[in-house]
């Protein structure tokens, strides 16, 4: 987030939110997270990529700041989140992301593999 220097992130937690029983605890390990998509008006309000409206809450993909969102995705990827679930909008997918149902209103990041060295 510091890499992008944006101020309108809306972060919805690093956990799995469906609460369904029988799921792996790996969803709640603190490494998977959810973010609202970034808007051109920088309001921090909702974006639903299955809609096209430019304004409103939620707005559609026309209201998403595609450039800033892709820059943010690049930064997440660079710092170790190698897998992202998103939504195909206007025949496009955001950088590093895969299309999956239920991700029209948020970006899910997972598969955290940062570069690091353990010093003893």
């Amino acid at each position: 987030m510091l890499e992008c220097n944006y101020e309108d992130f809306v972060f919805n937690g690093f956990s799995k939110a469906d609460g369904r029983p029988g799921k792996s605890s790996s969803h709640k390990n603190g490494y998977n997270g959810d973010f609202r998509y970034l808007r051109t008006d920088k309001s921090g309000k909702n974006v639903h990529l299955d809609k096209s409206d430019e304004k409103g809450d939620p707005c559609g993909w026309k209201g998403m700041d595609e450039t800033r969102q892709n820059t943010f995705n690049d930064a997440l990827y660079k710092f170790g989140w190698k897998d992202m679930l998103s939504w195909k909008y206007n025949k496009k997918l955001l950088n590093h992301s895969k299309h999956f149902k239920g991700h029209h209103h948020h970006l899910h990041v997972q598969n955290y593999k940062p570069n690091f060295t353990i010093k003893s």
């Binding site: 809306v10 919805n12 937690g13 799995k16 939110a17 469906d18 609460g19 369904r20 029988g22 792996s24 790996s26 969803h27 998977n32 959810d34 609202r36 909702n46 990827y77 660079k78 190698k82 679930l85 998103s86 195909k88 997918l93 992301s97 895969k98 299309h99 999956f100 239920g102 991700h103 209103h105 948020h106 899910h108 997972q110 593999k113 940062p114 570069n115 690091f116 060295t117 353990i118 010093k119 003893s120």
Partner: protein, 352 residues
């Protein structure tokens, strides 16, 4: 001893250098590698994306030589990113440079490593084989036995891959018919109860947090006398039945519940994108229309392509489109929908 160690290292280094020269691996190339390693940290300078085709996995080497140190093994179907390197070396020795996450002692990093290009191929080459179908992360049965990292016992379930032309197209799909009298107005689903003036009400909550709920009416099952509803959560969702008479009974399913023609079995599937796994649940329907879970499992190697549509179901088998879990998505992030295979699942479950 202090003198022996440096001497050994020197011998090893000279040996490595000799091998590099023999492999036409010049200092110029070494400099290129160092440059690329630095560049790749900031830019994903990939020239191609391929997949591991070696069934037993593909060895990762520190340098483009079979004699170079072994860093690990990539599993079958693993997607790899090729890095732009000297083409001459690639063709001569068959090794290609890829960018991979390498845990090594105390260091965990993405770096340029080498694999034999003979065992890399296109996504279409990656297919499920029968032996991969039964492997689970866990599964549970009715007698409350829990199994982890095991194949499902063949006495319970059998898995096969079948050709599309072998599927009995006359088998009736078990879809629960929709009704016209249940409607959703302004985010509220209202379902009238039988023998009561009360209604069941499900109201959408479209807040992007754990409280997110969105409901969709799917239909009414006459044999079960139950309504089927889908409840979407912030991530994922589930189907559930509610009794048409009292509305109190709520039985949840991971995916669309397919009912066998004899009304004794319900099968549901779910593609889990967080673990890249396939989920399966099987229920029995008792004579009093009670629904009890017989089996649940999380499968390592396959994911249902479209869990809301199966090809066929009879009283002992179901056929569904699946993909090998490592190639569920294409390299561009879209579902790999053209590369599916047909999984035939047969059950021998205790229905008593």
């Amino acid at each position: 001893m202090k003198k022996i160690i440096p001497l050994y290292i020197l011998i090893s280094l000279s040996s490595c250098i000799q091998k590099k020269v023999n492999n036409s691996y010049t200092n110029k190339n070494l400099a290129e590698i160092n440059t690329i390693e630095k560049t790749v940290q900031d830019n994903q300078d990939f020239i191609d994306t391929l997949y591991v085709t070696a069934k037993d996995g593909l060895e990762i080497r520190n340098k483009p030589s079979i004699e170079s140190s072994l860093l690990g093994v990539l599993p079958y179907g693993k997607k790899v990113h090729l890095i732009n390197m000297d083409k001459e070396i690639i063709h001569e020795k068959k090794f290609v440079s890829i960018y991979e996450y390498i845990p090594n002692d105390n260091t965990y990093e993405h770096r340029v490593v080498y694999v034999d290009s003979e065992y890399l191929g296109q996504i279409e080459e990656i297919k499920l084989s029968k032996d991969l179908l039964c492997e689970t992360y866990f599964y549970n049965t009715t007698d409350e036995n829990n199994f982890e990292d095991e194949c499902v016992d063949k006495s319970i379930l059998k898995f096969n891959l079948v050709a599309e032309n072998k599927v009995n197209q006359k088998t009736i799909l078990s879809k629960i018919p929709d009704t016209t009298y249940i409607t959703k107005v302004d985010g509220t689903l209202t379902i009238p109860l039988q023998k009561s003036n009360n209604n069941l009400i499900f109201k959408d909550v479209l807040k992007d947090n754990d409280n997110y709920r969105e409901y969709k009416y799917y239909g009414y099952s006459e044999p079960l006398n139950k309504h089927l509803i889908y409840e979407a959560f912030y991530e994922g969702g589930e189907f559930f039945f509610v009794d048409k008479v009292n509305g109190k009974e709520k039985i949840s399913f991971i995916g669309y519940p397919f009912i066998s023609p004899n009304n004794e079995i319900i099968v549901t599937f779910n593609a889990n994108p967080y673990e890249n796994s396939g989920e399966l649940e099987i229920f029995k329907i008792t004579s009093k229309n009670k629904i009890e879970k017989l089996f649940s499992g999380n499968f390592k190697n396959w994911m249902p392509l479209d869990q809301d549509n199966i090809l066929s179901i009879d009283n002992n088998n179901v056929i569904i489109k699946v993909l090998y879990s490592k190639v569920f998505w294409n390299k561009d992030g879209n579902l790999n929908s053209k590369n599916f295979q047909l999984l035939k699942l047969s059950w021998k479950l205790n229905l008593n």
